[in-house]
Amino acid sequence: METRFKKPRRLVLATQIVSIVALLGLVEVLTRSGVVSPFALAPSSEIIASLVDLIRDGTVLPPLIETLVQVVLTFLAVATAGLITGFCFWRWNLVRRAFEPLMLAFYAIPGVIFYPVLLVVLGIGPTSVMGLGFLLGITPVVLGVRDALGAVDPVLSRTAAILGASPLAKYLKVVFPAALPAVGGTLRLGFSYVVIGIIAGQFLVSTGGLGKLVADYYDRFQVASMYGAAAFVILVAAFINVFLEKLR
């Protein structure tokens, strides 16, 4: 029972803007007046200035590109492996019964605890970072693809078979297209998990990219730059997510 916007959009937008401005104002007052230590929080004006500086002087560009390349590569791997595994789960019950309980168990535990294992096996560097992104992204995609295929009306594939479609044609031309909208949603979810995993990997053991950028400012106690860089990462991630949702 979805309730659509009852309040006019303009009122909502105005309230959002006023709230954000009020929050920034509060931070400004708390820090300028010394209620909050300058080693804990920087004034909003300084955070925004450092955010603008980070973007204008290009500091943010190399780590951004590094992170994006890792995210795209990992996502391609997650999408390929997730589609194939999800298909196998759906098609062969034995495969599903053999691996699904493990995946469900994995879903419940904080995936980041496997990062040290990846670091030992793959070494410190982009490979283990991408490994963590893959690990976090693959579970929702496999389970989502299986659900999406399972939700396709069996009448469709039976009709295709009766009309003489080969198994391959049946899957590629009938079942997959029918599942596509749900698969799209699943891939979007997987994408945000990949982003979270990659940034977490870069941040926890400073290996590069945007995660390292934030961690470095924290290590050097450059408070305003640290908040600026964190805001940049959140804004970029939020922007990409909103963009993908619109695309879908």
Binding site: A40, A105, V233, I234, N241
Partner: protein, 254 residues
């Protein structure tokens, strides 16, 4: 065949067998990473050490406090989100986006604001845990308020308090349990992340310390311990959730 062999068990046993075989073949696995038999010995050692249970206790305390804070903020938010249309429309985009962005970049901010002790882990855990509570419970409140149950109660001349205690709360309970299960696993994630980065105690700290010291079999047993605890919580809460939905979730889609 009389016995039904569980396919999962076969997968796990085959995997352990391959790992053990690698140990006989590669010195790297045998001496550095450890074989299943040497890791099993470490697990016994780690579980019987009082230090381990100290770290488990620290993490458990952080988890409980973080969860309490997440419930406080999350339920407060969901009350506003569920009953006030404007609050819902204004906050919802932030909550939805908040679920999909890498919150880990805010960890340094939490360390600066709350120090490197347990307080920052509690707060960072609560940050992760409050989002599903706010989203799921407010969704439940909205569904119940829009349902016939509330209208039926109004027809029967129920007072506002009666509607809340006899209609709204029981009907929202299933949503609350679902939210709680997700909140436990996400709060634990926040707590462990915080401990893995800068901490003096806790399971995440224990894990990272053994990684840095390259005590890999010990590190692997920490992974098994954290994963095992999280898995047990999840199984328990799933059982509870299924029971509550069956009892109270009459005619509602999950």
């Amino acid at each position: 065949m009389k016995f039904k062999i569980s396919p999962v068990l076969v997968v796990i046993l085959v995997w352990i067998g391959i790992w053990q075989a690698f140990g006989a073949w590669s010195w790297l696995v045998r001496d550095i990473i450890g074989t299943p038999s040497s890791v099993a010995r470490e697990v016994v050692g780690v579980l019987s050490s009082p230090t381990t249970w100290y770290h488990v206790g620290v993490s458990a305390l952080e988890l409980v406090l973080g969860l309490a804070l997440a419930l406080l903020i999350g339920l407060g938010l969901s009350l506003g989100l569920g009953t006030e249309e404007l609050v819902h429309d204004v906050l919802e985009p932030f909550l939805v986006v908040g679920n999909t962005v890498p919150k880990i970049v805010l960890l340094p901010a939490f360390l600066m604001l709350f120090g490197t002790g347990y307080e920052s882990k509690v707060a960072f855990g609560a940050l992760h845990g409050m989002l599903p509570i706010a989203v799921i419970v407010s969704n439940g409140v909205r569904q119940v308020l829009a349902s016939d149950q509330v209208r039926a109660a109004a027809v029967l001349n129920a007072t506002r308090t009666q509607v809340i205690s006899y209609v709204l709360l029981p009907a929202v309970l299933p949503y609350l349990v679902t939210a709680l299960r997700l909140a436990v696993s996400l709060t634990l994630l926040g707590v462990v992340l915080g401990e893995m980065y800068v901490a003096r105690a806790g399971l995440g700290y224990m894990l990272m310390r053994w990684y840095v010291q390259l005590q890999i079999p010990k590190m692997l047993s920490a992974v098994l311990l954290i994963g095992g605890l999280a898995f047990v919580f999840d199984v328990f809460l799933r059982r509870l959730e299924a029971g509550v939905w069956q009892k109270h979730g009459f005619g509602q889609e999950k």
